[in-house]
C-alpha cells in the first residue's frame, strides 16, 4: 500500500537573502486529496510548487514527499513520482512532435519502447488528445498545448500531480475538459491557481496564501464562499457565486 503524502513544515524561502517569499509555510496533504492553493499574484504559490519538486534548493525548513526529504540526493526518486505541469505550456514542450514529447519521460526512465508507446496512448486518451499524437508542437493552439503538457506528465504515471495555473488562456470548452481530466486523476493533486471557479470544481480543500504565509486551510466550499476572507487577501468570490446572496451552485 502506498503512502503518498506531502509534508511541509516551517518552510522559509527567498530568491534573495533576507527577503523571504515564503515565511514559515506548513501544510500536509494525503493520498487522493485534491488541494487548491489560492492567493493573489505574488503570494508564493508557484514558488511553493517548485520547491516541492526540488527546483529551488536553498530553503529552510522541511519538505518531505512520501517521507523522503527533498534534497539533491533524492531528487531523481521524488521527480519520478511527481508530475509537474508548468504555468507556461510552451516551456514544457520542447520536442518536435506531441508523441516525442509525451514519450520523453518514459524513455528517460528506461522503459522499453512498447511500454513507452502504451503510456503515450494512455496519456493521450486520458486527456482526449489522441488527434494530436503526430502533430508538431509549434502547430498547436494554446488549449492543445495545455492538453499536450498534461499528457507529458501523465505518461510518467505520477503519484502526485502538481499544476501551476492550469486554466490560464483556456477557452470554456478546453477549461471544462481540463476539469474533467483533473477530476478523473485519482491520486493526490495540488493545484495552484487564482481561478477560484476551477478550484471549486476540482478541489475538496483550499489553502489560502497571502504574502508568503498560509492564512487559512480548510474545505474549499467553506473558504471559497467566505467573501470577507477572500477580499481581505486580494481575491474575490468565484464568478459562479458573485451576485448571489449565498450558497453554492450545483455542478
Amino acid at each position: 500500500m502506498s503512502h503518498i503524502r506531502i509534508d511541509v513544515d516551517d518552510l522559509f524561502f527567498g530568491y534573495e537573502k533576507e527577503n523571504d517569499i515564503l515565511k514559515g509555510i506548513s501544510f500536509h496533504a494525503r493520498e487522493s486529496e485534491s488541494v487548491g492553493i489560492i492567493g493573489e499574484n505574488g503570494a508564493g504559490k508557484s514558488t511553493l510548487l517548485k520547491l516541492l519538486v526540488g527546483l529551488y534548493g536553498q530553503y529552510r525548513g522541511c519538505i518531505r514527499i512520501e517521507d523522503i526529504p527533498v534534497e539533491k540526493s533524492t531528487l531523481s526518486v521524488i521527480r519520478s513520482r511527481i508530475g509537474y505541469v508548468f504555468q507556461d505550456s510552451e516551456s514544457q514542450l520542447f520536442m518536435n512532435t506531441v508523441y516525442e514529447d509525451i514519450a520523453f519521460a518514459p524513455r528517460n526512465y528506461g522503459l522499453p519502447e512498447q511500454e513507452v508507446e502504451k503510456r503515450v496512448e494512455r496519456a493521450l486518451k486520458m486527456t482526449g488528445a489522441e488527434r494530436l499524437k503526430e502533430k508538431q508542437i509549434y502547430k498547436l493552439s494554446g488549449g492543445e498545448k495545455k492538453l499536450a503538457a498534461i499528457a507529458t506528465v501523465l505518461s510518467m504515471t505520477p503519484d502526485i500531480l502538481l499544476m501551476d495555473e492550469p486554466s490560464g488562456a483556456l477557452d470554456p470548452q478546453n477549461r471544462r475538459n481540463l476539469i474533467r481530466i483533473l477530476n478523473s486523476f485519482g491520486h493526490l493533486k495540488v493545484i495552484a491557481s487564482h481561478d477560484l471557479d476551477m478550484v471549486l470544481d476540482t478541489c475538496q480543500r483550499a489553502v489560502l496564501m497571502y504574502r508568503g504565509r498560509i492564512v487559512k486551510d480548510g474545505p474549499a466550499e467553506e473558504i471559497l464562499t467566505d467573501r470577507e476572507l477572500l477580499e481581505a487577501h486580494g481575491l474575490e468570490l468565484p464568478l459562479c457565486l458573485q451576485g448571489r446572496s449565498g450558497g453554492l451552485r450545483k455542478t
Binding site: R79, F94, N96, A105, N108, G110, E113
Partner: protein
C-alpha cells in the same frame, strides 16, 4: 518580424524533415554521421586542381537527395547564406595563383581551377551536412556523438544551444511584434532602444530557457542519451549501407574513376 518568424519556422521545418519516416531517416545515426565525416574528409583531401576527380564524389549528395526525397531547390534555399560564402572562399585564388596550365590545348589560369575546386568542395560538404541534418533528428545525432565518445558536456551544450536558439528567436519575435504594434509607420527598430531590447531579450530568453531545462529535469532527463539505445538498434541494413558508401567514397577518392571511364568510353568510340 517576418524574418524572425521565418527563421523559427525553418528550424521547425528542418526538424520535421528529420522526423519523417523515410528509408534513409531510419538508417542508424552513427552510420550517417561517420559517412558524412568520412565524405567531408575525402572531399577536402582532393588536390586543389583536381576538379574532375571531385565531380565523381558528387554521387554521394546526389544519391542522398534522391533517397531522402529531399528537394534540391529547398536545400539551396535553406543553405542560401552558406553557399555563396563557400563559393567565394576560392575567389582570391583567381588573383594569387597566376600560373598557366594547358586545358584541352588552351592556356588557362591555374587560379581558375583552384577557385572552382574550392567552391566545389564547399558546395559538396555543405550538401553532405545538409543531408545529414535533414535525415537525422538532433536527439539521434547527439546519441551518435555520444557513441563516438564525444564528451557528455559538449554534446549537452550542443543540444541545449539548439533548443536555446529557438527559444531566443521566439522571444525576439514577440518583442519585435510588441514594438512594431506600438510604433506604427516606423521602419525597423530605432537605434536608441536596441540596448534595452537586447538586454531584455537576453533576460527573457534565459528565463524561458531555464523553464525548458527545468521541465526536462522534471521528466527524468539525466544529461545523457542512453535512453536511445534500445530505440536505435544497429541493423544489417545499416552495416551494408555503410560498407557500400564507404566503398564508393574510397574508390572515387583513390582512383581517377572519371578519367578511366572517359578513356574507356573514348576507346570504345574509337
Amino acid at each position: 518580424m517576418k524574418g524572425i518568424d521565418g527563421a523559427v519556422y525553418e528550424i521547425h521545418g528542418m526538424a520535421a524533415l528529420a522526423a519523417r519516416d523515410k528509408w534513409i531517416n531510419r538508417i542508424h545515426p552513427l552510420v550517417k554521421l561517420l559517412l558524412t565525416l568520412g565524405y567531408i574528409g575525402a572531399v577536402v583531401s582532393f588536390s586543389r586542381y583536381d576538379i574532375i576527380g571531385l565531380i565523381g564524389l558528387a554521387v554521394y549528395p546526389v544519391a542522398g537527395f534522391l533517397l531522402g526525397d529531399l528537394s534540391l531547390k529547398e536545400g539551396c534555399r535553406r543553405m542560401r547564406f552558406v553557399l555563396p560564402l563557400v563559393c567565394l572562399t576560392g575567389l582570391p585564388n583567381l588573383f594569387l595563383d597566376r600560373r598557366q596550365v594547358l586545358f584541352w590545348g588552351v592556356k588557362v589560369g591555374a587560379g581558375l581551377f583552384s577557385m572552382l575546386t574550392l567552391a566545389g568542395k564547399g558546395v559538396l560538404t555543405v550538401f553532405a551536412s545538409y543531408i545529414l541534418i535533414a535525415t537525422t533528428s538532433l536527439d539521434k545525432l547527439c546519441y551518435a556523438l555520444r557513441l563516438l565518445h564525444v564528451p557528455r558536456a559538449l554534446v549537452t551544450q550542443f543540444m541545449l544551444t539548439y533548443r536555446y536558439v529557438t527559444v531566443l528567436l521566439e522571444e525576439a519575435g514577440r518583442m519585435v511584434q510588441a514594438y512594431t504594434l506600438r510604433a506604427p509607420g516606423q521602419k525597423g527598430i530605432r537605434f536608441k532602444v536596441w540596448g534595452s531590447l537586447t538586454g531584455l531579450l537576453l533576460l527573457r530568453g534565459m528565463d524561458r530557457a531555464e523553464n525548458v531545462y527545468q521541465s526536462m529535469l522534471l521528466r527524468g532527463w539525466g544529461t545523457d542519451y542512453g535512453y536511445q539505445k534500445g530505440r536505435v538498434p544497429l541493423r544489417v541494413w545499416d552495416i551494408l549501407y555503410f560498407l557500400f558508401w564507404a566503398g564508393i567514397i574510397a574508390v572515387f577518392s583513390l582512383c581517377p574513376v572519371l578519367p578511366i571511364l572517359g578513356d574507356l568510353i573514348g576507346g570504345i568510340l574509337i
